[in-house]
């Protein structure tokens, strides 16, 4: 408010000083005016020129100034130009809605309050807007469209109203009343006011746009600040233009590194494994540099106090309409609560799993004891069924435990040096029904050592084999290729028969997924095998995917294990997230 008043004062001073400009051109356009009035008129035109200049200055000083301030400037100038006692500017032409804003000059604020709310574009005031042309009256009270004044309204007689136009359409009206030193406003007053109005239309529209944008900005800022997610915005040059409050809560003070754009890296972002994200790999930097989008990837933020906050990070470049990168945004969602729930669920599942395994153990041992006691063949068969059902139940319970660990990224693996070729051979040997139809193609030197959890890897290979068995036509060959490049070892299991449908490929590793191509199996699992297998391979730092070839009716499952990770594995396998959750304690409890 103070700045708008300052601009008004400045404006008034300029008007008083008076200088050249519009006066010359306007002067020639008004050559039909009698000579005696010419000097006066020229001075007045100069005043209009400066009045409008000051309006534009008021606009130029936006966004500190507001539409209201601009209107105030216009009203003051209109009053001055026409020697009017009162002036008002009202924006709006809808008779059902009050002018908004409605700005007056010549009536004190207190007085305006007693008069009441803003008027509507009705009656005489509305007529100016409706007719979209000036109305000049000696006594407005005599006009048929005039309503009675409100009780505290000052008495007004002479009246001049001109429409404010923007690009030909009326946006509001400029009114002056009670000409000082004369009984009515002159035609010159009318022209001056019209000239001011034509300038003011543009100024008002500009101010309105500024205000709308400013409002939007303020609104956006408020919304963003209130969001529970941490948000950073960067411009095209990579300068951080905004961080909201939630983001600031994740800031670490003990880091002094800068990214490639020179921004101080205030958030210590790490992979779930605990590995620091290098400045160039920050999702927001990658969004600007590589136009890369990150969507809900899991990371952890290390706070100054050493506490690790699990977060989901999303980042995306912002494009201009012509496809250039205008900046980027990054969002960090604190998922501590979710992680805590996940941990509780995992704990709960492990308790349930433990309790379920107990009776299964009893069934298995009792069944075995019965089998030893010498029974008739029929009964023995039945007991074997009980036994294998119990074994299957136990595997399902294991699967559930594994799934909860995969989901929580808490799959523990104990790596040791393993010969992949030997391991695959062992697994195949232990599956008698697969042995005859499986061919293994080892790498040339006959062995391939990887750092891996042997038991978990056996689980993966066995899963892929039984999976291949499900998809293959009876008696067809199942082929296992073991190969390596300089970075990773790869195992590929191919079966012939029905190829997995292309649209199913991306979902093969989803939980509980069942392919339409798979044969109905009497020993249905939970549909978790591939999900767990993939989770196990990823816990080893490897990848797993599937390919299918409809023409050859083949499906191949591949997995890789990193070869360069000999030294890396043991440390990176310890999930950093452990710091965030309370330890389960040293002594296992039931």
């Amino acid at each position: 408010v103070s700045s708008s008043f300052a601009s008004i004062v400045k404006t008034l001073m300029k008007i008083v000083k008076g200088q050249n400009g519009l006066a010359g051109r306007a002067g020639t356009a008004l050559t039909d005016t009698p000579d005696t009035d010419r000097d006066l008129l020229c001075r007045q035109i100069e005043d209009v020129d400066h009045a409008s200049t000051s309006v534009f200055e008021a606009v130029a000083s936006l966004p500190e100034s507001s539409v209201r301030a601009v209107l105030q400037a216009i009203a003051v100038q209109a009053r001055h130009l026409t020697s009017a006692e009162f002036a008002a500017v009202g924006i709006g032409v809808n008779p059902r809605r009050p002018f908004d804003p409605w700005v007056i000059s010549g009536i004190s604020h207190e007085q305006a309050l007693t008069i009441g709310g803003y008027p509507r574009p009705v009656g005489l005031l509305g007529l100016v807007a409706k007719e979209n042309k000036p109305i000049r009256l000696r006594d407005l009270r005599e006009h048929p469209d005039h309503f009675r004044f409100m009780p505290d309204h000052p008495i007004m007689t002479s009246f001049l109203g001109v429409p404010l136009r923007y690009q030909g359409r009326a946006v509001g009206n400029l009114y002056v009343a009670n000409k000082r030193g004369a009984s009515e406003f002159t035609e010159h007053d009318q022209r001056l006011l019209e000239m001011l109005a034509s300038k003011a239309g543009v100024a008002i529209e500009t101010a309105r746009l500024y205000a709308a944008e400013g409002m939007q900005h303020a609104w956006l800022q408020t919304v963003i600040d209130q969001m529970p997610e941490g948000i950073v915005l960067m411009d095209a040059e990579g300068r951080v233009t905004m961080q909201n409050r939630s983001m600031l809560s994740l800031v670490t003070s003990d880091r002094h590194e800068r990214d490639r754009f020179g921004n101080l890296i205030t958030v210590d972002l790490r992979q779930v494994s605990g590995e620091r994200v290098s400045p160039d790999n920050l999702p927001i930097v990658r969004a600007i540099v590589h136009k890369a989008t990150t969507h809900g990837d899991e990371y952890v933020v290390r706070r100054s106090n050493g506490r690790l906050v699990p977060v989901l990070v999303s980042a995306a470049p912002i494009f201009t309409t012509n496809g250039e990168v205008a900046g980027a945004t990054m969002m960090l969602e604190d998922i501590s609560t979710f992680k805590e729930l996940e941990r509780l669920r995992e704990e709960w599942i492990s308790v349930i799993a433990h309790d379920l395994q107990q009776p299964i153990s009893t069934i298995l041992l009792m069944a075995d004891a019965l089998l030893q006691s010498g029974l008739t063949d029929g009964v023995e068969d039945d007991i074997r069924h009980i036994r294998s059902a119990a074994a299957r139940l136990s595997r399902m319970v294991n699967d559930l435990t594994d799934v909860s660990q995969v989901e929580a990224h808490r799959m523990r693996i104990s790596p040791s040096l393993v010969d992949l070729v030997r391991l695959v051979q062992d697994v195949v040997t232990r599956m008698p029904e697969m042995l005859s139809r499986t061919s293994i193609r080892p790498p040339e030197r006959g062995h391939l050592f990887v750092l891996a959890d042997a038991e978990r890897l056996e689980q993966v290979v066995a899963n892929l084999l039984s999976n291949a068995e499900k998809y293959s036509a009876a008696g067809t060959e199942i082929q296992i290729d073991i190969s390596e490049n300089d970075r990773e070892a790869r195992v590929s299991v191919t079966n012939y028969g029905t190829a997995v449908l292309a649209d199913e490929l991306p979902h093969l590793f989803d939980r509980y997924f069942r392919s339409r191509a798979v044969k109905t199996s009497p020993t249905r699992g939970l549909g978790l095998g591939l999900y767990i297998a993939k989770g196990l391979i990823e816990a080893h730092g490897g990848r797993m995917w599937a390919e299918s070839d409809a023409s050859g009716a083949t499906t191949t499952f591949h997995f890789t294990l990193p070869l360069e990770a000999y030294e890396l594995l043991p440390s990176t396998m310890v999930p950093a997230a452990e710091e965030t959750t309370s330890s389960a304690g040293d002594e296992p409890e039931e």
């Binding site: 298995l364 041992l365 009792m366 036994r387 299957r392 599956m431 296992p588």
Partner: protein, 154 residues
Amino acid sequence: MVAHPRVLVADDDSLFLRAVSKALTGLGARVVQAENGAELIERLADEGPFDLVVTDVSMPWMSGLEAMYASRLAGLAVPVIVMTALAHERIPTKVRALGGRAVLLRKPFDLSSLKAAVTLLLNSETPNVRSRALPTPIDAATPGTNRDDQWADR
């Protein structure tokens, strides 16, 4: 191997305690039962010596592991089979801490696994038993799934 080894079995699940006892009896053992960790200690002290202890981990009063640490501290080197259905990743380390004559058996296990473990511990004259064979899978058709039946061999 002793002809009829005296075996102390501890588990708080009475049905399972019966099952293990029955299985061990079937293998020729003379079985003494305990239903919690405190009882395990008592029986060890009062009814010993035993050729083998077979114990669950989580039991009331005192865990099987605690009871065995205590007896080790007391100078008792009796071989032990630790059974558990807990997936806790620190258990193998804890079993290893009991020394060479200790084997971890993950629940559920079958009779042949139990037999292999018993044979391994009772046939070995050396205090540092090392596992030589993989445990028998509970379901031969799907190896790898019974990954939990592992031996603590150090």
